[in-house]
């Protein structure tokens, strides 16, 4: 281990986003097996379920929205620092909130290298500076390098969501209700189910579980699917975490950001455009006539889907 933790248990801090939190699950497995360390995870209440049943987890501190509000957060930090006074803190967020907590922490604090300057330099210089350094390690490897000396093979750090048999059975049941066997003979194409949160346009082909599943139910549903088609999103990492093949369409973000899925059954569709990546988180408004995601034709997606499901 690169740094002596002086304890068999360490506290991990990562609040959001869901994908980043999911990416931690594989790193914790690696550290747990390599160093026999257990972890107490501090995260937002909505993402806490990702750590249920995880063998590397000794405890979860699920922070509510209220406990993260400005004034209340100072008290939250004090309480956490007092409760976990004996354990080192691994700051996997590097945000203002994590620094405030670190300021109150009573023992050692270690922070992972988020490469904030290099990522911005890469973005501002349109890829002239920092490409190789960014490509060298994906986000999981950057997390892992906090404790590990060598770059770890990517596939060993893939996200890991631990579902139990009951959760998988429930998902099977849910899907069988959506797609009863009697329909099978009538269908020519694939069973398609929409998942996630948000608004689904009307009259879309397929069935919808949008806004209808909890986070673990979503993971369980994904685990029972043959393929997930997705953008650069949280569910992409969840599918990787339950070993479901996935086809990811990358547009505003790119490989340098370190979020490409690493599972053996993951494929990427993307188009080379000089404006990519256009922002750190892919949320900038597009000024192109045809944007990077629109350039990926439906036929290409379908072709890839056919290959993956063959």
């Amino acid at each position: 281990m690169k740094i002596p933790l002086n304890s068999n248990t360490a506290v991990i801090f990562r609040l959001s986003a869901m994908g980043d939190v999911a990416l931690l699950t594989g790193v914790l497995s690696y550290w747990n097996i390599a160093y026999h360390t257990k972890f107490i995870v501090i995260t937002r209440a909505e993402w806490a379920a990702l750590f249920e049943n995880h063998p590397a987890i000794a405890g979860i501190e699920a922070l509510s929205k209220e406990s993260l509000e400005r004034r209340e957060y100072i008290h939250t930090c004090r309480k956490l620092a007092e409760k976990y006074a004996d354990f080192p803190l691994l700051d996997m967020h590097g945000s203002t909130r994590s620094r405030l907590l670190a300021h109150q922490w009573r023992t050692s604090v270690y922070r992972y290298n988020k490469m904030p300057v290099l990522r911005r330099l890469f973005l501002w210089t349109k890829g002239k500076i920092g490409r190789n350094a960014l490509l060298e390690k994906n986000v999981c490897q950057r997390y892992a390098s906090l404790l590990c000396e060598d770059p770890i093979p990517r596939h060993l750090l893939k996200p890991r969501i631990f579902l139990d048999e009951e959760e998988k059975d429930d998902a099977r049941h849910l899907l069988s209700k959506l797609f009863p066997c009697s329909d099978a003979e009538l269908r020519v194409g694939y069973d398609l189910v929409w998942v996630g949160k948000g608004e689904l346009p009307e009259n879309m082909y397929g069935k919808s579980l949008v806004n209808k599943t909890s986070l673990r139910e979503l993971c369980a549903v994904l685990s029972q699917c043959s393929l997930l088609i997705t953008g650069d999103s949280g569910p992409m990492h969840l599918a990787d975490g339950v070993n479901t093949p996935l086809l990811a369409l990358f547009g505003p973000t790119s490989k340098e950001w370190g979020f490409f899925p690493v599972g053996r059954n993951a494929r990427i569709l993307q188009k080379d455009m000089p404006c990519r990546p256009c922002s750190l988180h892919g949320k900038s408004a597009c000024r192109q006539k045809e944007n990077c995601l629109e350039k990926i034709r439906n036929e290409e997606i379908l072709e890839e889907v056919k290959k993956m499901l063959a």
Binding site: S29, I33, A34, P55, L156, K158, R264
Partner: protein, 73 residues
């Protein structure tokens, strides 16, 4: 040989993590892991146990240990 994982030559903790990958991707009731390291052996057994698999029996041939796991062991 579908349910056999060869981790010989890999350094710790790689064999245990490959075992975890194997279990999660395969989901078989029984499988065998090959290893050539005592430390890895312990790690592999511990990892499999956490996933609900017990060591059914083990054999040793020259430097290689054959660890046979089963869900019901």
């Amino acid at each position: 040989m579908e349910n056999v994982l060869d981790t010989c030559g890999l350094s710790c903790p790689q064999p245990a993590l490959e075992t975890l990958n194997f279990i999660q991707q395969n989901g078989a009731d029984e499988f065998t892991v090959l290893t050539d390291s005592i430390t890895s052996r312990e790690n592999i057994i511990r990892t499999a146990k956490k996933q609900g698999y017990g060591l059914k029996h083990e054999e040793k041939q020259l430097m290689t240990m054959y660890l046979h796991f089963s869900k019901n062991a």
